[in-house]
Symmetry: C2
Subunit: 441 residues, 2 copies
């Protein structure tokens, strides 16, 4: 039997996920609105047989002090649906994952846009289902108070049911287009959802044919208790933020265990931790690249980023003392916990924590092609993950180093594809095509 295979997504901000990256020599500083650069990245990832191009997203400019904000390249870029639709025409195989919020959007719109992207890309769309933890987003949608965490998840679950129900409005074979008889579709193959729930009332049917994949691939990133349960019940890929292999294994065992308990096949959900990958000719060179990037993060940015992550203004703390206990907030629980855990584990001052988190605070593989492939293989074999959402330290250089160095090494080891297995994102990820809940073929 063939070895288990890694699945690789590229988690993309146009300039990089690392907040210092735009200042790095050779970086594409204007990539936020440089479609040619983004096409080139997508094509390079596709040539390397990546599963998906996963576009990061926010629904607000972060509410940082202006002295920090003005140093950030992350606040503005293309909107994901329009961008991915354009990229669908410059690529043929790579999956296209967009984020849509269950808190600040409507199920009818979301179902429709993903179905359309799936048709345009011939089956390559994925929906990253987020409840939107950024409290500033609420202020752009007429709400003074952010929706609380529990209610966001209850709404998310119902939102998911409505969207998938709308995708199933039409049987796959509904459109007969019989010109002779004048029958465009078979009315027996159309279902009107007529959903009335606690959060939504949506009649349907959706005004678009069933997606090529049945449903676009369902992606989630929540790590809280309700987030994990929602993932185990509904997700097909999970973007996790775990700091190390032990945490990865614990998350993996927990979510796959939840799947066992509800009778879902464990293979039908791929757990893909986010990982910054910094490739050097030597281990030392890789560390130098990382250090140089971190040094390019401004002090003000670092403090402000940590404040956003914790949901508290940390500039009021003693910056050179330990992180004090901070009260509950409405910020993402997983991001908050990660910061707190890191500070405790490494005994960091608030300022040290801010600098670490301010550039990029999560899991990172920093080394040579060989050590990075070793680590990825170890995670795979130790059931720490089913693959990764790779983040590049700067672009294009960091991306090129990965696809030219690490990917061939993973292929040589037989743990990453040399050719796409299928035609759709779902097929490449090894996921079944959902049956239509209202129609059997």
């Amino acid at each position: 039997m063939a070895a288990r295979q890694l699945k690789l997504g590229a988690f993309m901000r146009p300039v990089s996920i690392h907040t210092g990256a735009w200042r790095y020599p050779g970086a594409t500083r204007d990539a936020n609105f440089n479609l040619q650069a983004l096409k080139r990245y997508a094509q390079a990832l596709e040539k390397a047989k990546f599963d998906a191009f996963f576009m990061a997203d926010h629904l607000a400019v972060l509410n940082m002090p202006i002295d920090a904000l003005k140093r950030s390249h992350t606040v503005t870029s293309f909107e994901p649906f329009t961008l991915l639709s354009a990229l669908s025409q410059a690529t043929e195989h790579i999956g296209l994952i967009a984020t849509a919020s269950t808190t600040f959007d409507e199920p009818f719109h979301v179902a429709r846009r993903f179905a359309s992207l799936d048709h345009l890309s011939e089956g390559r769309a994925g929906w990253n289902v987020v409840t939107t933890s950024n409290p500033d987003a609420a202020l752009n949608f007429g709400r003074e108070e952010h929706v609380d965490h529990a209610r966001r998840y209850a709404r998310a679950r119902e939102f998911f049911d409505v969207v998938t129900g709308l995708w199933d409005s039409w049987a796959d074979d509904a459109f007969v287009r019989d010109a002779e008889q004048g029958i465009y579709f078979d009315p027996a193959r159309l279902h009107t959802l007529a959903h009335k729930g606690e959060h939504f009332a949506v009649r349907g049917p959706l005004n678009i044919a069933r997606p090529v994949q049945g449903w676009p691939v369902i992606v989630q990133a929540g790590a809280s208790e309700p987030g994990r349960q929602l993932a185990a019940e509904t997700a097909e890929a999970v973007f996790t933020s775990v700091p190390d292999l032990a945490a990865g294994q614990a998350f993996y065992a927990d979510v796959k265990g939840r799947m066992d308990r509800i009778g879902r096949n464990r293979e039908h959900l791929k757990i893909l931790p986010g990982a910054l990958v910094v490739v050097g000719e030597t281990h030392e060179q890789a560390r130098e690249i990382r250090a140089r990037l971190d040094a390019l993060v401004h002090d003000a940015s670092a403090i402000a980023s940590l404040s956003v992550m914790l949901g508290h203004d940390v500039s009021t703390f003693d910056l050179d003392g330990p992180l004090p206990d901070i009260p509950e907030s409405n910020a993402s629980k997983s991001g908050r916990q990660r910061a707190v855990d890191l500070a405790r584990a490494e005994n960091l001052t608030v300022r040290q924590l801010a600098h670490r988190m301010g550039g990029y605070g999560g899991l990172a593989f920093v080394g040579t092609v060989t050590t990075i492939a070793d680590e990825m293989q170890e995670w795979l074999e130790a059931h720490g993950s089913d693959g990764f959402n790779v983040m590049f330290p700067w672009l294009p250089g960091g991306l090129d180093a990965f696809v030219q160095g690490v990917v061939p090494e993973l292929q040589r080891r037989g743990i990453f594809r040399r050719e796409y297995e299928g035609r759709t994102l779902r097929e490449n990820l090894g996921l079944p095509r959902p049956e239509n809940r209202f129609f059997r073929r």
Copy 2:
């Protein structure tokens, strides 16, 4: 001085606006989800120097009796933003106009998507601002009752102010990207809208740079009293539905007069009636094409379409008697009035009216290349319009006949461009680039 020039948009449903078209011999029946066909149409229109590809839209499957609905090709197709983003990559010059509803969407989302399409297409986006007259749409967005007409327009006006304010969040020169100093943008060139109005509270700023065109081109189609006033105040192109030249002249004079009274330059709004154009080798052949299309509309469809247009179930009327007086409804006032006027003017029975309106009930130019060019020229010179939103009777044949026959004739007469004048939709339409309301250069 050069002659006034026609502006030409193509108002597109993938199969055709005519409900019988999908049954026409040679029609592309599956065009709703056939991207290759739509790319070919967009490229043919661009080669013919059309100003814009204008994608029709609905937010619901029409609530017709199923025996009528099953005969309709118009209920399902690509969602406009995703489609136009994809088409932006297959074209270089033609404008891309999408519809977005001020009743069932959020200003932040709408501002963002249009800004993104404008960046992706390098300045070719247009926003068709609609208040959504289809009462079935409300049921897909959690509302039992459709929002009434007056309130829809009040909300539309505020929605427009918020969207344009969000587009002006960033000065055109805000992004300095000074790597040396670590300044990505100049905070003095960022404006936070902080809008609080009757219908919306939106803080901003928008998380995308100012559109290439400043603002995407503003398009409207309302013909009611508040619709005309909103157009005179805010629109840059108006898609009108007028039955004949006299009505076109009256509308033209009315809206341009409203512009005079508020001090707007009349040239800064292009009035473009929708017109079905059926080209034949002879006048008789053109009429035969039209008659054949109309004959392909099923009786049930015709009755149901008229019911939707009037906001009343006309199957309860005496179908072979005259159209009775019908009470006010919440349906589009302009469409309703057009049907009533046509029935009165031509003394049609309900059934006759239904057949006429059921295929396509509006202005049509049916004739040879010469007679169609004559009519278009007459409208232009008699101030009935500034051009047209052309609709093709079937595709690809009806489109090809227009671009291969009528366009060269208009060019020969010097009333249509041989080359695009500018780089953006706005430049081609001869519209000024809006100043940023918060920043002067």
